[in-house]
Every structure is written in structure tokens, then in C-alpha cells.
Amino acid sequence: MTNKQAQTAPDLALQHEVEQFLYRQSELLDNKQWQSYIDLFQPEQGMYWMPLLPSHTHWDGTPSIFVEDVDLMTVRMKRVTHPNAWSQQAEWGTSHVVSNVAIESIDAAGEIHVRSRFHMMELRRDDLRHFGGSYRHQLVRTADGLRIKLQRVDLFNAQSPFEYVLQIWV
């Protein structure tokens, strides 16, 4: 929890910057700007991870829903944009809301640890699905602005049976 002491002017500026970053990230998903979305991740280290269980602490060696570095994210992007990605013939879209954004800590290396929550609606053909959960972002400051070193996505309904599958990041 951020205490009152920490609510100084520079923190508010960082809070604002981080929130805008997360909002932009969700807009890129909803607008299907996949390459711009991938570019938010650090090219060498960046990871997108959706664990199967909240108790899982590291992606390495753990069964996961998504565990993708930038190269694997690129495979996913090239798949969904391929003219013969049959499952993409169905019209579909998403709408994300990101909220409860809290900066948890800034570590010695300057990495910013951010916690937030999200809701996402997805329409595919005539079927509506609803996903929710929490994001944990590990952000680093680079010459190009904030970049994601690790995004952990804990899907609230990760253990219920999936009606169909997830084709793109949440």
C-alpha cells in the first residue's frame, strides 16, 4: 500500500506515467495493433506470462497458459495475421478496462513494480466472453520510454474450463 508520506509530487507524475502506459497497452490490444503491442516489451528480456495458478512464482519450468518472449509473441502475431488463420475468419473484438493501478515498489535497479486489475469482454461471432484478473508489470526505463521486462497476468478464471481458447494476449 502506498502511504500518505509517499504521495509526493514526483510519485504522482510517475503514477500518471505508469497509468498512461497501461492504458495505452490495453488500447493497442483492443485496436489489434500487434506489432506496437509487442514493441512495449524489452526486445531481449521482455516476457509475457499467464500462469495457470496464482501460486506459481516463475514461468521457467512451470505449465502456463502463455509463456512468450518477443520471438514467440511474433509467432503469435504472424499466425493471427496469416491469410489462412481459419479461426481468424470469425469477426471478433475485445474491450479492456484497466484499473486499481498501484506502484508497489521501485527496486535498486530502478525497475518499477506495478499492480493493477483488468476486465475484458470479448465478442467472437455472437458469443460474449468475460475475463478478469490482475496484471503485475515489471517496467524498466529505456531511451524509448517505459518498457516491459515481465508482465504477469493472473486470469481470475484461469482454472475454469475454457469455452474455446485464447488466441491473443489478454
Partner: protein, 445 residues
């Protein structure tokens, strides 16, 4: 209980011809109910693996056909030092309430019904009822089967894999026949001959008939068509990585291999057995010569000797289907089991196993396949599920009534019980499955 429709044998016979089947086999709810009764509730069904329930009182719930079932680990005994496993109907004999309420858990001291506190031992036998004196001079008999949690007609395990059968039939090994190679091929890759589950499983619902899955698993024509997008995308990135590092990571090959052309798929062989099982022989290049594989070979050689090690690692299996509901990919230690819900709706559980005593790197390699292909964000099944759903819609419509299984018909090696394809792209395995299907569906009619 669901109603049992009456469809006579002659009508069923008319739906299955040697080279084509009627669309009703996939879309008719009455046929689905009959499948649950005559196939799923009569043949051996996969319950789970013993490592899912390691401690006394641990349980796991699942469906067999229309029946809610539970498998429970018992207390250690002289004959079963690790505790015998019982497969029970998850239903209290008093008022029918399901006794075990979670998907998995521990029953505590006794299996206790949450409604009126009837208590049962882990093998389902009645331990106590409250106010027992109220049953004096009634027809209640604490020793009668009517007042126990009912056991499956039979349950058995093979190398830790637990199966149950709800009606009379052959024993487990006779039922599996040569298809038991799937479990051997998995377990023999461990130097102690044993696997254990990696928690948790994935569960995905397909909006299509269960048979779409069973046919797709041994359909060698579809991968390079259905999975073209992922195969080509992975191949492009794989080439980029190779340019940068000089190496091709194996998990990219797991995806790019889906673009393998028809001619190569055609070199594989499908063998269909009397109870509907299929052994699909082929190779995904999972015995490379990298240091991880070498280390695995060394561990197996130490445990079994060189000849056995070679035999175990040279088995040439792609998929094995235990009809009607299990698909095992033994070289990658992955298993899918179907729990059909309706004619147009099927739940699948997807499990990954760890080879006890094998190098960690071998687990990690298989884990890539679990994460990329068998996860709920699968890069592969997204297109399968889409195709099957469209197939289900098509087969629910009249207009054309027949599903074609003509490819390479007449060229199968068929001795009347074992049906072997001459080539990998043959539709022989679908013909073989329907031969078993018709037999199950029309028996005792």
C-alpha cells in the same frame, strides 16, 4: 437419469457404411445418449493417474458417460501399502447427493454426505448413519449394496493409469491390446518406469461432437492445411533465430513441423484395433542428438542396458488413441481425455506427466509442447476447434447427409479385426473407428 432412446440395430446399421457415415452419428442427440450408454458406460474409461491422489482420502471427480464418478485413495493396508484406489459413483445412497463436492480434494476422516451426514469408508462402504435406531424394523440394511456408495463394476490400473468400467467386459489389458504401447512408451522413458502428473491440467470445451477430436488426432491430411498459419509463422521466426544464433530451438520445430507436406505425412502408418484403438506410427524428430537427449540416453542405459534403451527410445509413435476417449502422445508424455457433454459439446482434460528420474531438460522440452500446443492459449488447437465447430454446424444441417471416408478405401490391409492403412493420409483409421462404433452401438440390442 437421462432417457434412453430406442434406435434399433437396423437403423444404426443403415447409418454406417464401409466408406461413409451418416451425419446423424455426429448431430443426433438420441444417438449421443445411446453412445453414452453403449460405449462410454460399457467400456474402460480413463479416470486419472494415481499420482493425482497420493494421500489417503484424496479424491478426484470426473464423468463417465452420464455418471458422476469419483476415485478415492484408501488407507494403507497389508495388501495395498500405498492405499487401494476405489472408483465410486459420486452419489450418496440416501438421497442421491454428490458426496465429493470439488473437482479434487481430500475427503477428510471419512467420505461424508453434506446433507444428512451419512459416512462412508474410502472404499464406499457405509460407516455410519445418524439416528440409526430409526431404521430398526425397516428394510434398511447397512450391509446391503443399496446402502453403500456404489463401486464401478470394475476398476484397474496399468503402470499408475487408473481406468474403470461400468458394465461387464474384458479385463483392462485385453481391452487395451497392442494399444497399451502408449503407456509403456511413456513410462519406459523413465529410468524407474514411472511417471507422475504435473499439476494442473488444462480443460477446454469444444463445441463439437467427441468423434471430431478422435478422428482429428489421427488425420494426417489436416495439419498442413489447418495449421498452415502457425506452421509458417513459426518457421519464419525459427529461421530468424537460426540466422542469429546458428541454432534452431526444438520448440519451434514442434510448431513448424505442422507444415510438413502431405507426401511426408503419407509415409506414416495407422493401425486400428478391434475395440476402436489406433496406433499412429510416425516420428516428430524427438530423438535428436543434442546433449539433453544424450544425457537421457545415458540414464536409461544405466537403468535398462543399451539394447533396452535403444528399443524404448526408437519406438516410432506419434499418437495412440484408446477408444473412445483417450489420446496419448507418449514421446511428449501428454494425455487428453474426453468427457462428452452433449452431441455438440465436449470437455477435454489435458494432462502432462513428468518422467520420474529422467533429466530435468527432458521435462522442459515436453513442457514447451504442453504450453504451446496443449494450453488454453494453444497456437494449434485454435484452428482445430474452429474447424470442428464449423463441421458440427454443417453436420447439423440437411442437404447432404453423408460424411466421406473414401480416401484409400479398398487398399487397407484388413484381416477383419485389425485394419492397417497402406499410407498415412488414408482414412482407414476413421473407417476402423466406425467399425468398432457400430459393434458397440448394436450389441445387446
Amino acid at each position: 437419469m437421462s432417457h434412453t432412446p430406442h434406435i434399433d440395430s437396423a437403423e444404426l446399421q443403415s447409418l454406417v457404411e464401409v466408406d461413409r457415415v451418416h451425419r446423424r452419428c455426429y448431430s443426433d442427440p438420441d444417438i449421443f445418449e445411446l453412445e453414452m450408454k453403449n460405449i462410454f458406460e460399457k467400456t474402460w474409461q480413463y479416470c486419472g493417474h494415481e499420482s493425482q491422489i497420493p494421500k489417503p482420502g484424496d479424491y478426484y471427480t470426473f464423468q463417465i458417460g452420464r455418471q458422476p464418478m469419483v476415485m478415492v485413495r484408501g488407507e494403507p493396508s497389508a495388501s495395498h501399502p500405498e492405499g487401494a484406489i476405489s472408483v465410486l459413483y459420486n452419489r450418496c445412497p440416501h438421497r442421491g447427493v454428490q458426496v465429493c463436492g470439488s473437482r479434487a480434494g481430500n475427503a477428510g476422516d471419512k467420505l461424508t454426505c453434506p446433507y444428512h451426514a451419512w459416512r462412508f469408508h474410502y472404499d464406499g462402504s457405509l460407516e455410519s448413519v445418524p439416528l440409526e435406531k430409526g431404521y430398526r424394523d425397516t428394510r434398511f440394511d447397512r450391509n446391503s449394496p443399496e446402502f453403500q456408495m456404489t463401486k464401478a463394476e470394475a476398476s484397474d490400473s496399468y503402470r499408475g493409469f487408473i481406468f474403470a468400467r461400468l458394465a461387464e467386459g474384458p479385463n483392462l489389458l485385453d481391452w487395451m491390446g497392442p494399444a497399451k504401447i502408449a503407456i509403456d512408451d511413456m513410462c519406459d522413458r523413465s529410468p524407474v518406469g514411472k511417471v507422475e502428473v504435473v499439476f494442473p491440467s488444462n480443460r477446454v470445451v469444444q463445441r463439437s461432437n467427441w468423434k471430431f477430436f478422435m478422428e482429428n488426432q489421427i488425420d494426417a491430411v489436416h495439419p498442413s492445411v489447418t495449421h498452415m498459419s502457425t506452421g509458417q509463422a513459426a518457421a519464419e521466426v525459427e529461421r530468424k533465430i537460426q540466422r542469429q544464433t546458428g541454432e534452431k530451438p526444438l520448440h519451434y520445430h514442434m510448431l513448424s513441423a505442422f507444415t510438413t507436406p502431405f507426401e511426408k505425412w503419407d509415409t506414416l502408418v495407422n493401425t486400428g484395433y478391434p475395440y476402436g484403438h489406433i496406433v499412429f506410427s510416425g516420428y516428430m524428430g524427438l530423438r535428436p542428438t543434442d546433449p539433453d537427449t544424450r544425457a537421457h540416453e545415458a540414464v536409461l542405459e544405466q537403468a535398462y542396458g543399451k539394447a533396452k534403451m535403444e528399443e524404448y527410445l526408437d519406438r516410432n509413435i506419434h499418437h495412440v488413441l484408446l477408444y473412445p476417449a483417450v489420446s496419448i502422445q507418449s514421446p511428449l508424455q501428454q494425455l487428453r481425455v474426453l468427457r462428452p457433454v452433449a452431441a455438440d459439446r465436449t470437455l477435454s482434460e489435458i494432462w502432462h506427466f513428468r518422467l520420474v528420474g529422467a533429466p530435468e531438460a527432458i521435462y522442459r522440452r515436453a513442457l514447451w509442447y504442453f504450453n504451446l500446443v496443449n494450453s488454453p492459449a494453444t497456437l494449434i488447437n485454435a484452428d482445430d476447434l474452429e474447424n470442428w465447430q464449423r463441421g458440427q454446424k454443417g453436420l447439423s444441417a440437411s442437404g447432404s447427409d453423408w460424411v466421406s471416408f473414401h480416401r484409400d478405401y479398398g487398399r487397407d490391409k484388413d484381416d477383419g479385426s485389425v485394419l492397417e492403412s497402406t499410407n498415412g493420409c488414408s482414412e482407414a483409421p476413421m473407417r476402423s473407428q466406425f467399425r468398432a462404433w457400430l459393434k458397440f452401438m448394436t450389441v445387446n440390442h
